[in-house]
Symmetry: C2
Subunit: 134 residues, 2 copies
Amino acid sequence: MDIGEVSKATGLPASTLRYYEEKGLIQSYGRKGLRRLFNQKILERLALIALGRRVDFSLDEIRDMFNTDGPDINRALLSAKADELDKKIKEMTKMRNGLRHAAACSAPNHFECPKFLRILKLAGKKRLRQRNKL
Amino acid sequence: MDIGEVSKATGLPASTLRYYEEKGLIQSYGRKGLRRLFNQKILERLALIALGRRVDFSLDEIRDMFNTDGPDINRALLSAKADELDKKIKEMTKMRNGLRHAAACSAPNHFECPKFLRILKLAGKKRLRQRNKL
DNA sequence: ATGCAACTTAAAGTCGACTTTAGGTCAAGT
DNA sequence: ACTTGACCTAAAGTCGACTTTAAGTTGCAT
């Protein structure tokens, strides 16, 4: 298939496909005249790249994950990436819960609502509490 | 507190704080000469901004979420953001599971391993199966 | 054989989120 | 009074991920 077909199939502009090739994320299997030729499995790879982008991997990271040279290095990289995702999933979950509360909350400034802040685990400690029991 | 203290307390460079002020994400309560003066609660707000950034909100989005003018508009925005996060959490979970498998998988090309692709729900359908039962 | 839509390249431009630079001001310690 | 380090502003620069532009080439339908 030529670049236009890949573009149509994926929704990505041809310029993006050329850019991805230049960066080493995809390859064409040859040319017809000047024109790049891609085979079917590019579509799967592009879907994978799109998913990677959605979960905030950089193009360089994605390219590295495709590189199967050092198998252990790759394994470690994948693991590290999984850990990173795990951390982010937790933060996003916390934030989502906070936002759900804020959207339902009657307080006029969500962002000072103690419940909201507690959900986000921001500033739980009351500072300046006068005359603390000693 | 002056900008240097805020910077020390948060780890953010002063230039970033000025930039955030310029963009309307934070305010100083006044000046001493030229120098901005911030009060304590800036720290909480900056922590919130940092969390927002971590979960991929843009500065404009964060600023909008702080704006409590149209209470319903704000509510709708928060809800929409929560939905968006939910969607992303699901994608990230899928990707994390895929990566965990890939890191443990014996196959040399993780990215063509059918199990991996199935976890990511990419390309489940075998195309070109010859002589299909009619 | 001709036309032209779809391709090609290299280089410049854009956008968000900052950072860096250049040149200036000033509060506070000696 | 003087120095100096921390602040100030406006403007330019950087980085990643593309997009746009300008100028050229070519497969294919007529």
